[in-house]
Symmetry: C2
């Protein structure tokens, strides 16, 4: 253990607007050794998610900001390689908030053990993890889609959006995606079974959505805000529901621009409700049971965009904020020795 070299990506400065590579710093230091009640995690997969942009700011929010000079916050899948914690013995696989680093100590807080035989380890960061759970509670609990209704989801090829559309299909709805590239639109329709997908970079949104949603929009799962939200509001049906999951179009602005006029909410008796997945932990068991089964049955599919090497995490994260990833963005930090056995 003593000779392990840790690599960490620290938050060096708080960005104004779009983050830069120089806001991060890669440093090396000896990996720590676990004390009493601790265990040492070797990071295999680091999750990169849009919410991390908010943590880079020093503002009051639902979570504490990331600390300057400390490893960036983030969820990761790890192998326990040394332990004096009885619940997490050496050889366990875990998922938890270990951050942007190759090795991390834990006392178990926020940690969950994984069965590498049940599903590929990386799925614990995507379709079977936080993004999948976000889709599940946002769509099913807040969106409450009914058979025959039309569900629209933005960032449709992303970790959350791809699950939202598939859950909509499982619930008997028409699923319409909004994405930013022809390949992404093709993927969600041909591979994931969405009924249609609008490329927001290629077509004027309102007529394209109108064509894709001939009976109007009943549920809009919003990951982006901005122009897509404004366009959707022009097409919602009475009693529409809009789970507000993310506003990625606004994450890098230095001053919030105006939003859409709320008039359509009034005449349509519609609702917008912001939510954060961590408030809904009581639904995790339901989600995990359902999603695992749907995955096995082939009704839930996923795509990962895997970047190799912790040193590439900052650039991959900047790309995520610009929509450059295609599927759940994951950084492979260390070898996944379970892959061959799957």
């Amino acid at each position: 253990m003593q000779n392990l070299l840790n690599r960490q990506v620290l938050l060096r400065s708080r960005p104004k607007g779009e983050p830069r590579i120089s806001d991060f710093e890669l440093v090396e230091s000896p990996a720590p050794s676990p004390g009493e009640g601790e265990f040492l995690c070797r990071t295999i997969y680091l999750s990169l998610d849009p919410y991390m942009r908010g943590r880079m700011n020093d503002v009051k929010s639902y979570a504490q900001p990331a600390e300057l000079g400390k490893p960036m916050v983030g969820g990761a899948v790890s192998e326990v390689i040394a332990s004096s914690h009885p619940a997490f013995p050496t050889g366990s696989f875990v998922v938890g908030p270990t951050g942007w680093q190759a090795y991390a100590l834990s006392r178990g807080a926020g940690m969950r053990k994984l069965d590498p035989k049940a599903a590929p380890l990386s799925t614990a960061l995507g379709v079977l993890g936080m993004p999948g759970m976000t889709a599940y509670v946002g769509l099913l609990d807040i969106g409450q889609p009914k058979p025959g209704e039309t569900v629209v989801v933005s960032a449709a090829a992303g970790a959350v959006g791809s699950v939202v559309g598939q859950l909509a299909k499982i619930r008997g709805c028409r699923a319409v995606g909004v994405a930013g590239a022809p390949a992404k639109c093709e993927f969600v329709v041909k591979e994931l079974g969405f009924d249609a997908c609008v490329n927001y970079r290629a077509e004027p949104l309102v007529p394209a959505l109108q064509k894709a949603c001939p009976t109007g929009i009943d549920v809009y799962f919003d990951n982006v805000g901005g122009d897509v939200l404004a366009a959707v509001l022009r097409l919602i049906n009475p009693f529409a529901r809009i789970p507000l999951c993310g506003l990625i179009s606004q994450y890098n602005v230095t001053e919030l621009p105006p939003g859409p006029n709320p008039f359509p909410l009034l005449v349509n008796r519609a609702l917008i409700r912001g939510f954060i997945v961590s408030d809904h932990a009581d639904r995790f068991a339901d989600f995990h049971r359902d999603a695992t089964q749907w995955l096995r049955e082939g009704r839930l599919r996923y795509r990962e965009d895997i970047v190799v090497g912790l040193e590439n995490a900052p650039e991959a994260f900047l790309g995520l904020l610009r929509g450059r990833n295609f599927g759940k963005l994951v950084v492979r930090v260390g070898d996944d020795l379970t892959v061959k056995s799957c």
Copy 2:
């Protein structure tokens, strides 16, 4: 009956922007006689309400537009003066959608009988009628205020807002109004028991609301939209609820301006939900029972702004859209012979 002269205010033209007196026309004609299953109503009080502005437009909404050349739509309290309808005999008092006219025929659709001994007849258009019911379902069912929370309501001295603040007090909340005149602010605090009231015409909204709501805003009952909604969104607490009842600041615009950025909804996991009182008819019995009792106990008070004469309805309505009324705006169209006995 044959010799009764009816007076009607017709919708003459659809306004672009702010309505004008010339969009209405006062006409006279013989009052009709009730046929089989019909009864003739003599209008006593006509209700003027902000929603009527929307009915003047020829656009898809939750209700049909008012027809050109027909009496303007509206609720009124009437006396039945001739009847061949067994459920509504001559001498009954009723409230229902008889429109801007001195006499109206009805077959009973949307009509409810009133007991003139239970409460002054005009209250059926305000605190015990549609506006009171709007406050009840919007605040209690959608806003779900809990004891100790802070409830803000705009148009606080109006027919709906004045009830919202009093219900908030009944539920053990801090009640803060927003109104447009010192007398209105003084009224809701001193007469209705609100804890504070902000004059949006006199003070910058955000600091004034911040001072009036030292622990933030948990429920905002929105009657106006625009700047007040934008200011409130900067001060909402986690899990805030915003029943969206009206957007009177937007009713006369020819093109909808942008609204507030939805970012605060996301980080606070807050909800905005538009509603229309007519969707909640199943709550009327509860409302009427509760409101009648609170009225008797003096826990629910009201103020009426009574304009005399049907011919003055158009000008009074234009004033309503500008916030000139002070209390529930009612037009006395005919004599109320029950007043002396109250």
